[in-house]
């Protein structure tokens, strides 16, 4: 199962990707799924199992994110 981390800003998404990769969490930037958000740009896809760990890393770095949602694909 995959999950996506949604952000208000694509700048925050890129920052998050950078920090997650530095912490060896497998992640990928993907287009924001339209059914999850009306934002332009991209979000970060992770393994759903890494959700809590990713959330802790983002919080520790004060990286604002909107939500983490399970994602099966469109």
């Amino acid at each position: 199962m995959k999950a996506v981390i949604l952000f208000n800003s694509t700048n925050h998404a890129i920052w998050a990707e950078n920090e997650l990769k530095e912490n060896e969490i497998s992640c990928k930037m993907i287009s924001v799924p339209r059914h999850l958000s009306s934002d332009c740009g991209y979000c970060v896809q992770i393994d759903a199992d890494d959700g809590e760990k990713a959330s802790n890393i983002l919080n520790a770095n004060n990286i604002e994110f909107d939500n983490i949602e399970n994602y099966k694909g469109e």
């Binding site: 800003s9 700048n11 998404a13 950078n18 934002d39």
Partner: protein
């Protein structure tokens, strides 16, 4: 094209206007973006757009590291230091505010302030520097009133190269609850700066001078503990975020970065800022190099050039900018001969800083100005001293 000194005898001493040549990694980065990436970051989800987003983030992180900033989102990219100063100044001021600035400001700071003063929107106090261009922090303290909202100070003079005691001034601002805005157009990449330790709230930098990025780059850096919502955006528009709303986002950096950024420029700025930070000795090394060049120039010119008058002090720390003239020839004519006959590029006149020239007594004629860069050498200075000697003697 890079300046090839084996084929070209040009000596470029106009680095205070913009640095040249740029390191090869900078031109490579710009070319790589324009030929291999090209896309708009933050708008689309395709890989080229994401790659462009990575470039912007790397540039932001590199600038944050340069100024000791923890949160890279507090770095706001603008087209130059002037735009950053306008954003900081106009963004925080409200009707009735009192502002303190100095007699060493560039027009990029004094003009927006003076415009607001003329509209009777703010009141302005201009603290006078001494003849060496230095501001006494005590005078700033004395000028603070109950209505003082901000202090705006030029860190390194674009006329004299002298460096203001910003940490001390910032401490006074902090103690009095006053916002401290620092114009680091000349000092960024030249003088070590730590936004938090130096007590700066808002810092403006040029990307194309000491950071060796392309022209059209610069930015405003907001201290980690400063509430960015106190700053109103100068422009509103598309950010790629909150696209379902017509409200301007209030989070950073989107609040201040509407419209497509100069990604080609930021590619080069990232490369340039990394280049100077990774140089042996880092920024401290660059600072020592420029001070050595300044001392060498003043010493040699005073020894060999008749009619040489120097306004910059060789005893004070400097950003490698020197104001001088020859007593017996106008500054415009001397600059023209330096360019035409000796292929030495410099700037003459008032350097967009009428108040600074009034302070040192060189208004309205102005001075000649040499602005040294990281690639300049003592040998080039010796050639310039010889040229000045020749001009001074009428040869």
């Amino acid at each position: 094209m890079l300046l090839d000194k084996t084929k070209n005898s040009i000596i470029y001493f106009d680095n205070a206007a913009t640095s040249f040549p740029k390191p090869e990694c900078v031109t490579d980065a710009v070319l790589n973006y324009m030929t291999q990436i090209g896309a708009n970051p933050g708008r689309s989800g395709h890989k080229l757009s994401i790659e462009a987003g990575h470039i912007v983030f790397k540039a932001r992180k590199s600038i944050a590291a340069l100024f000791g900033l923890k949160n890279p989102m507090q770095v706001i990219f603008t087209s130059n230091a002037t735009e950053a100063l306008n954003l900081g100044i106009k963004g925080i001021l409200q009707e009735g505010d009192h502002v303190i600035t100095t007699s060493m400001e560039h027009n990029s700071a004094i003009r927006p302030l003076h415009e607001l003063e003329k509209q009777a929107f703010i009141s302005l106090a201009i603290v006078q520097a001494d003849k060496t261009g230095i501001i006494d922090p005590k005078k700033i303290k004395e000028a603070i009133t109950v209505r003082t909202k901000a202090v705006v100070v030029n860190h390194a003079s674009n006329v004299l190269g002298c460096i203001q005691p910003i940490r001390e001034i910032g401490k006074i601002c902090k103690a009095n609850g006053v916002i401290f805005i620092v114009d680091c157009a000349q000092s960024a990449g030249v003088v070590p700066i730590d936004i938090n330790r130096d007590n700066i709230d808002i810092l403006a930098f040029a990307g194309h001078k000491g950071l060796y990025g392309p022209t059209g780059t610069g930015g405003m850096v907001i201290a980690d503990d400063f509430d960015h919502k106190k700053i109103k955006p100068l422009k509103c528009g598309g950010t790629g975020s909150l696209s379902d709303k017509i409200d301007q986002p209030d989070f950073l950096p989107d609040r201040f970065e509407s419209g497509t950024l100069n990604i080609a420029g930021l590619s080069g700025l990232f490369a340039g800022s990394q280049y100077i930070q990774k140089k042996p000795g880092g920024i401290k090394g660059i600072y020592s190099h420029k001070n050595e060049l300044q001392k060498h120039f003043i010493q040699q010119a005073e020894m060999f050039v008749q009619n040489f008058i120097c306004y910059s002090s060789s005893n004070l720390p400097s950003a490698g900018v020197i104001a001088f003239r020859l007593k017996n020839i106008s500054v415009s004519e001397a600059a023209q001969i330096l360019s035409d006959k000796f292929e030495i590029m410099c700037r003459q006149g008032l350097h967009c800083s009428p108040l600074a020239h009034q302070t040192i007594g060189t208004f309205p004629e102005g001075t000649l100005r040499f602005g040294f860069g990281i690639f300049n050498t003592k040998e080039e200075i010796d050639i310039a001293v010889h040229a000045l000697k020749s001009i001074s003697e009428g040869n």
